[in-house]
Amino acid sequence: MLALTSILIFVTLRVIPGNPVITRYGATRGVDPKALEALMHQLGLDKSIPEQYIDWVGGVLRGDFGVSYFSQFSVTTLIGQRLWPTLELAAVALVLALLVAVPAGIIAGMRPNSVIDRALSGFVTMGMALPPFVLGIVLVAIFAVRLNLLPAQGFVDFAEDPRKNLTLVLLPATTLAIVCAAPILRFLRASILETLQSPYIRTAEGKGLLWRQVVLRHALPNALVPTVTVIGLIVGNMLGGVVVIEYVFGWQGLGALAVDAVLKRDYAVLQSVVLLVAAIFIIANLVVDLLYGVIDPRLRVGGQGT
């Protein structure tokens, strides 16, 4: 699957009219054709397409993503620098999203059609329709411009200045969190509602557990099982949202790198970044599949392969 994806990416980028080397040099006029050739040779652009692909894949498997067309840095270095910030952003966002969505989902599931449930449902529909960058801009408008509480843009490495790093990550992570919380909330609510109809809930009640205990000890674990898969999907969506968010907030992660790469026609960087992101997505889904087997004991006995 990954292989197919990589081919897809590669072929797409190669079927282009433009020549990246030319972009690098700016105007074509006055450029020594020999130098052009030499650079192309250095970047491997004069080999045939299948050859280039094999080179790339070979490199990837060895952990070497090639060299950026634009700068002289190796793509690996670039990716290395930008990977951590993106992961940090995603992790903080996910944690915030769960902190909001899980309790809200439980409450909504326990009291369907109540005022609170309807309010939350409204929030969910809006959250799912709201483009992350619009929300980001709104938050910036409120918190940065009007109230001047938090900085709007920028990035500082965690190792350098943890405090500044956290203040800077807050707005983008919150934006991402709100967008992700909505589908999780909605799914958990439905899951809890469904679980509460199950007979074993009645058994638990009949045993003498308080309702609060019934929900937390019996309904919730069962409701979480399918929710975990949804979280896997969310991670995938988040990877897309991350791109624009990073751009909006000037957060130096992989997303911003990708956008940069496109603007500069830096295919070496672009194809590797996109491939990496796709790989993360696929791995995330695999992990979720495996997790499913761990959480739900019914799937363990004589489980099927993925």
Partner: protein, 276 residues
Amino acid sequence: MHRLIRRRAAVVILVLLGLLIVTAIAAPLMTPYSPTGIAAGDRFLPPSAAHFFGTDELGRDLFTRVLYGGRIALGIGAASTVIAMIVGVAWGFAAAMRRGWIDEILMRLADSAMAIPTILFALVLVAAFGASTINLAVIIGLLLAPVTARLARSAALDELKSEYVLAAVASGATSMRVLVSEVLPNTVPALLVLATLNAASAILAEASLSFVGLGVQPPDASWGTLLFQGYQRIYQSLWYPIFPGIVIFLMIWLLTLLADQLQSVLDPRGQESVRS
């Protein structure tokens, strides 16, 4: 359609949507200003009676720009939805009808395309082909095609299980005929819902691309471009990015709500559709 009209919520949504679309299309009629006219003296004015949304850094009326931007955004949105539906439905139906290894291949292709987050894939395609209006429509359309294909395929498979299809096949109908006279008409409700959701996704995609500068290029400006220009100058005028943002959000939200309404009316037993 009649059932839809009976629902109050649906009517409200349709009216609002209609309003948005019509005002955008009829832009020249709605505003005396020109989207490109420069009036240097009135930069960054807040909203007022003369300028509903205020003005931008060149003194242009924002309301006008948003309206004209709507033409482009909605145009691309509509075109890409059509492309997505045509390609996706053909793709999905072909897989459903043929089964076997063709189905396998087509769906694997769809899955690998779906593994790449939409925006990133969009970036890749724009990098490859450039960002003219037509390109954008095609690119976004192609982006939405794999998901459409998957859903069209399951809708088709559902239909193929039903008895009147078996009856048709038993009486000697060819697969093409079955497709056209049985499968297609009965999947229309689900496809309609899908089309609405695709429209929402298309608008989102176009706005995102334009926002990062890879969409509609100046001097044309779609909502996304306006949003970007506004964001750059947010410290000078809060209103500048807010209005395009609200409009984008409204459009997507209304379309999503409409899809929900359509779903409950036309296809109440249908599954949860995938929303990007």
